[in-house]
Symmetry: C2
Subunit: 206 residues, 2 copies
């Protein structure tokens, strides 16, 4: 498997990863493509097809072993290691992100938190010290962080993104409404729950 995955396959594999992670926590040993399909809304044939492109991971009549399939997908997606990320913004959303177990579960550590509020700087957020944005460059370099999460007010988003880019961050998760300009070698993922909701409503209304 030397070729790069297509965007679609990589997106689906990461969905399977999440289902398997949860299934394992629930104590399940085996899972069928049909069960994964129920949780992901991805067609069961598509799931088997995606997986069979990398090997014969399942047992006919039985299904897939949760543990071994998890290991295989992690190998394919190369997500076995630990990853350090930087969180910019220690407000309500920042606090929610920092306290969520969702990152740790997938080997992602919030290694630095930044905020411009002098009252917050020096305190901690879920055990991580809050630093001033002036220290961002030094800290991000120091800890080889390539991912930044924007949880600041929309007005402050572009400036914070610029700082992350200057410091060498290559992936930015933007949880503000703001549109972010960035160099072409930096991926910006904008997540907007309201937009997803309107999209979901369309299919409900029609």
């Amino acid at each position: 498997m030397a070729e790069r995955l297509t965007v679609g396959v990589a997106a689906r594999l990461s969905r399977y990863l999440q289902v398997l992670t949860q299934a394992r926590k629930m104590g399940k040993d085996r899972i069928s493509s049909q069960e994964i399909a129920e949780y992901t809304n991805i067609n069961a044939t598509q799931i088997r097809r995606d997986l069979s492109g990398f090997g014969r991971f399942g047992k006919r009549g039985v299904g897939y072993s949760v543990d071994s399939l998890l290991a295989e997908i992690r190998k394919i997606l190369r997500t076995q290691g630990q990853h350090n990320i930087a969180l910019v913004g220690a407000g309500r959303l920042g606090a929610a992100i920092a306290s969520s177990p969702i990152f740790a579960e997938h080997g992602i550590t919030i290694a630095a938190v930044f905020d411009n509020d002098p009252v917050k700087v020096g305190t901690t957020l879920d055990g991580v010290p809050i630093s001033s944005l002036d220290e961002l460059d030094a800290i991000v370099h120091d800890r080889s962080i390539v991912v930044g999460v924007l949880a600041v007010p929309a007005e402050a988003a572009q400036a914070a993104a610029d700082r992350l880019v200057e410091a060498g961050v290559k992936i930015i998760f933007n949880y503000t409404q703001a549109l972010i300009h960035s160099p072409s070698d930096v991926q910006v993922h904008t997540s907007n729950p309201a937009v997803e909701l309107l999209y979901a409503l369309y299919f409900h209304l029609t």
Copy 2:
């Protein structure tokens, strides 16, 4: 336009909607397919193709009028009205969601907030009274809510989802890690930032 949009088209149109909403706030009158492409990572030809399927909205050599394109897409997606949603969980994530301007901007109102903590019940979250989950059924019926947002601990997610389903909610946004079982007429959208991050990292690492 009597036919239902395909999933892909509806998803892309709602992305354009977000870009246009922000562009308008920035005072832009006109926007080109190329500009929308930069913000959405969707190919410019695809954007023009998507739009031209519904009419000739642009001016050659000029681009699209932000205001009129916004109106057209809202018409296509039928998202012109106001929508009431219920938020379950008044913890840190719930607080972040309730205080975000992102929903109001798209005509979505958080009409009810629920939490099981007796200390929180009776207080308000960003102006919305917090009710006990025991009142969920009555309130959801009363306010004709069809969308519920889960911002509770993972252990409480399925029980909260069951209550929403019983009350008649048809769209659930799940911000917990938990896998949610639901009847086939209820759409569950699970959002997991960690999974999106692993997916983004794959393309960075390869």
